[in-house]
């Protein structure tokens, strides 16, 4: 897969501001590509997935149960938004992507289009 990570900020983004780059695993097999992304703190309704042409955008907002009067004393996560953009290659079937968000881990399955899948060619005996 020609998964190319682009800059996390671009001027055309409808919602500007700082974002975090979520860590991902990308695994390819004969039938497609599986992408896992760590998005801790993102509930399902705050996750935005978009495929436009050959660009996959993953965006999520962190939502924590924080008491109003809390004063932060230590923060390793200080930006409440994840964003990451990938460029998909032609043989991927973007119409049949499945996505699942469990315990802050997004699993995206992008199958290859049937034409691109490996096929065994029968050799007929003479």
């Amino acid at each position: 897969m020609n998964a190319r990570t682009e800059t996390t900020r671009d001027a055309t983004s409808p919602r500007n501001g700082a974002t975090m780059l979520p860590p991902v695993d990308v695994i390819e097999d004969a039938a497609g590509i599986t992408l896992y992304a760590d998005l801790p703190g993102v509930p399902r309704d705050k996750l935005h997935l978009e495929i436009q042409a050959d660009t996959l955008t993953i965006e999520g907002d962190v939502s924590l149960p924080v008491p109003d009067s809390m004063v932060s004393t230590h923060a390793e996560i200080s930006v409440p938004r994840y964003r990451r953009v990938f460029t998909l290659s032609k043989e991927l079937d973007t119409g049949n992507v499945t996505a699942e968000l469990v315990n802050g881990v997004l699993t995206l399955r992008i199958p290859k289009s049937e034409r691109a899948q490996p096929r065994r060619i029968e050799i007929r005996g003479a």
């Binding site: 897969m1 390819e28 703190g41 993102v42 932060s72």
Partner: protein, 144 residues
Amino acid sequence: MYWSSFPRDAFAEFDRLQRELSRAVERSPSIRGFGRSSFPALNVGDTQQAVEIYAFAPGLDPASIDVQLDRGILTISGDRRADTTQTDKSTVHVNERFSGAFRRVVSLPDDADPDAVSAEYRDGVLHIAVKRRAETQPRRINVQ
């Protein structure tokens, strides 16, 4: 609001960039662990009634997370298995997510009450609240 209290200045941005760069470069962490880019990331905050700890630990079975409180030291530990079922026919293109054993330690203030701890795991974030002892909480004294 909680998030807006963090500065969004150039230094903060640079710090974030540096952390991400070091995570990409440091493929062999020190013998004592992961240093700065440790898992899970922690946020800690104070209220008058409690200490609130948020551990960003996605993809865990809540029952497998071990939270211990011993003499004011809170320890969060566990094991995160790679859920990437790899076969001979598959190729790993990107592998950035943490896997393996982890352990993080937080030192609690003196007035933390070890008998009043609650822990909840939601959306991959472990939220631990440790109440402060009642006798140390601010109290209004009536003037006669």
